[in-house]
């Protein structure tokens, strides 16, 4: 009996101590976003997802991109108007349609002290293009025939044919310049990151945090202002909301549903930006009845996109075509398109013409991981009932969802796409007959021609016309139902200054400070 008693006393004492600690924390633990005691400016971000590896050449997950994009840099970058700007290359020119030369910025060093030279550029692109890397950017550079180091600061790319998206892809974060030495030391770049960017990678503790610190020798003076960034993994929305409210983190992302709550809070500021994403419904155009254009058009006419925006995104989403609004000059105004004018009678007529006057039964596949997709599916199910289409929702866990997407073993599939850097992605990559993300079985000669023409036309204005036509054609043929492009939000403490999110660089902390 004594054993038990002694044990209980010890545990009781422990628990009292616990409760006591937690009690006084309520007053003292509140950092209220102030700088750490040492005066260091560490920005704490509540991160909604855990990064899935840090290799900029192979990992497409947004949770990883947001971290490695601060560590690595590419030759070029895009500004908020989708115009090319110098980054590691201070200038570039194009002696002929198939040749590009880049002149590198001098005196740029990697975080390990190695100098960044033309050799590194050549190595990085060769790494991307090498099959065993399995880089997601490999297809961007399929047309590259040779890379030549002209001098330590000059590098020349020769393409096998004219390829208009080339420079936009060079500006992609996935075309980051890496250090050969680091790759060879580590075998890969999944666990470490050594780039030339304003922040150095310090540590990554899985499911806990990623720490970045200021790179003192960054080639731009006075950048960054912060001493470091700590990404704290907080997968649960309610945890992020509570953490930002209590000042435990400086900023975080929140879903539209929580935004009114953050707006009400006087200590918080909400910043939004139009995302480069759009939600869509993909049809398997090989399967009946979706092989009939009229059925797809009927569905497009029956869907109320405004309602999707209102209910799923609390009104903060705009109707989108194949190229979302945030792509600036490349996107068309879809609100005028015939297929976007909700018209139940016309929808029913089209269904009848296709031979489905009584509607049909189908299935909407969606991913359980994203509440917005599940909500969109439920709303569509309800909207389609009005024209006699009875859809059942099939909610899949992410891994299986991606599999279904890849195999095209769905009928209707709700998803969200990101438009990337170049309109070629939205058109060629997703909808040309041999596009690697064309999982819909969609094939249209005209779209193929336009995609090809878009790739080989350098003149921006002409390219724009080509993509306008392609978008209109896609909206009309509706292999996908392009729904809406949502806004995204950052919620920050009022003392976080000099930070403005934009569509293509939502997290630029170069100038950000904590006041």
């Amino acid at each position: 009996m004594k054993k038990w008693f002694g044990f209980c006393v010890v545990m009781a004492a422990l628990s009292i101590a616990l409760v006591a600690c937690s009690g006084d924390d309520a007053s003292s633990g509140e950092s209220d976003g102030e700088a750490t005691p040492s005066g260091e400016q560490i920005l704490k971000i509540g991160n909604d997802q855990e990064p899935a590896g840090l290799d900029p050449h192979t990992v497409p997950a947004h949770s990883s991109v947001r971290i490695y994009e601060k560590v690595y840099e590419s030759l070029l970058t895009l500004d908020e108007n989708m115009e090319l700007q110098p980054e590691l290359a201070k200038e570039w020119d194009q002696p002929d349609d198939k040749t590009y030369t880049f002149t590198l910025r001098e005196g740029v060093t990697f975080h390990n002290g190695n100098e960044m030279t033309a050799e590194d550029v050549k190595y990085s692109f060769e790494r991307i293009m090498a099959e065993e890397t399995a880089s997601i950017a490999k297809s961007y550079f399929d047309k590259v025939e040779s890379i030549e180091v002209v001098s330590p600061t000059k590098v020349k790319f020769t393409l096998s044919e004219t390829y208009a998206p080339f420079l936009s892809y060079v500006a992609s974060t996935n075309a980051a310049i890496v250090d050969q030495e680091v790759v060879e030391e580590n075998g890969d770049l999944m666990q470490t990151a050594v780039g030339t960017g304003p922040f150095k990678f310090e540590e990554w503790e899985a499911d806990n945090h990623v720490k970045l610190t200021k790179f003192e020798d960054y080639y731009q003076d006075d950048i960054p202002k912060l001493d470091g960034i700590t990404y704290l993994t907080m997968k649960d929305e309610s945890a992020r909301l509570a953490a930002i409210r209590t000042g435990e983190v400086h900023m975080t992302t929140l879903a539209s549903q929580s935004i009114p709550l953050a707006e009400k809070n006087e200590d918080l500021t909400v910043k939004d930006y139009q995302s480069t994403e759009y939600s869509y419904v993909g049809f398997n155009v090989n399967k009946e009845p979706f092989n009939d254009k009229k059925v797809r058009q009927a569905i497009s006419l029956a869907v109320d996109r405004q309602e999707v925006s209102d209910i799923v995104w609390k009104g903060d989403a705009v109707p989108s075509g194949p190229i979302p609004e945030s792509m600036g000059k490349w996107s068309i105004d879809v609100t005028e398109e015939e297929m976007y004018q909700q018209d139940m009678d016309r929808a029913k007529e089209l269904l009848a013409e296709a031979g489905y006057e009584d509607g049909f039964d189908t299935e909407i596949t969606t991913a359980s991981t994203y509440p917005d997709m599940v909500d969109t599916a439920q709303l569509l199910q309800e909207q389609l009932e009005a024209i006699g289409i009875n859809a059942e929702i099939r909610q899949l866990e992410w891994g299986e969802y991606i599999d279904t997407w890849t195999n095209g073993s769905h009928e209707m599939l709700v998803g969200r796409n990101s438009s990337g850097n170049d309109p070629d992605r939205s058109i060629g990559f997703f909808f040309s007959t041999d596009g690697s993300a064309n999982v819909w079985g969609f094939s249209d000669e005209r779209v193929d021609q336009l995609a090809e023409k878009g790739r080989t036309t350098i003149d921006t204005e002409k390219r724009r016309e080509i993509y306008n036509e392609a978008q209109e054609r896609l909206v009309d043929l509706s292999p996908n139902l392009f729904l809406v492009s949502p806004k995204k939000y950052f919620v920050l403490q009022n003392n976080v200054a000099n930070y403005t999110p934009t569509a293509n660089e939502p997290e630029n902390f170069d100038e950000t400070i904590i006041e």
């Binding site: 929305e237 309610s238 879903a255 549903q257 929580s258 009114p260 709550l261 309602e307 209102d310 209910i311 359980s368 991981t369 509440p371 599940v374 909500d375 599916a377 439920q378 709303l379 199910q381 309800e382 059942e392 929702i393 099939r394 909610q395 899949l396 866990e397 891994g399 299986e400």
Partner: protein, 279 residues
Amino acid sequence: MGFMKEIINRLKQDKVGLVGVIGVALVIFIGFIGPFLSPHDPTEMYKSHTLEGPSAAHWFGTDEFGRDIFSRVIEGAKVSLYVGLISVGIGATLGFVFGLVSGFFQGWVDHLIMRIMDILFAFPDILLALTIVAVLGPNLRNTMIAIGIVFTPVFTRTVRAAVISVKEMEFITSAAAIGVKTHKVILRHVSPNILAPFIVQITLALSGAILTEAALSFLGLGIQPPDPSWGSMLNASRQYMEIAPWIAIFPALFIIVTIFCFNLLGDSLRDLLDPKLKS
């Protein structure tokens, strides 16, 4: 059957148990009759009335799609009970058969069955259910199968232990001695004697099943929308807990009351059926 009558008689004297019985009966009643009483279609969206608080038109308010929460909670009773009954039915049946076979024959059959149960048992419940659902695909049927499999080892062990203890009893050995066939012995004598712990286990497992389904919903692998189960409703409500608390409160209340009553009933049955506690 005299056995049931005795239980009912004894339950009448136990007030706590009675509360449990009434509660369980009420929930079952709502589950079966409720859908005929509900004022709205549980999946109908009143889109101009989203996130409205309780009112005369919508007694429990509406959710983000403007669906009537009262009707959904009622429909949810059906779904949640269905999940509970079927999955526990699967687990109990499998457990009963395995336990009976294992306990009665012992030897290598017993070893084999019990090692398989050990393997299942060593898996954390929620992870086991999660992986099974992930393999089979998330829908109502597979959720029930997964929960059923999760519960099988517990039932097997309960039944096996009871069978072994009953087997040692004199009347069984003597029945065998006078030449009664084995399967007859099992059916005639063993089964009724192991019913007590078995029934207790069932009432407890029922509440476990409802909670497991809720947990699966949280992990995104529960019942498919738009069909409501209390668990999936509660999970979907988390985003709105502050703006529209009624979305969370009502399904939560129903889960709590139901599980509470199942547990009360289970507790009382345990007390009543335990021969050692007979006063």
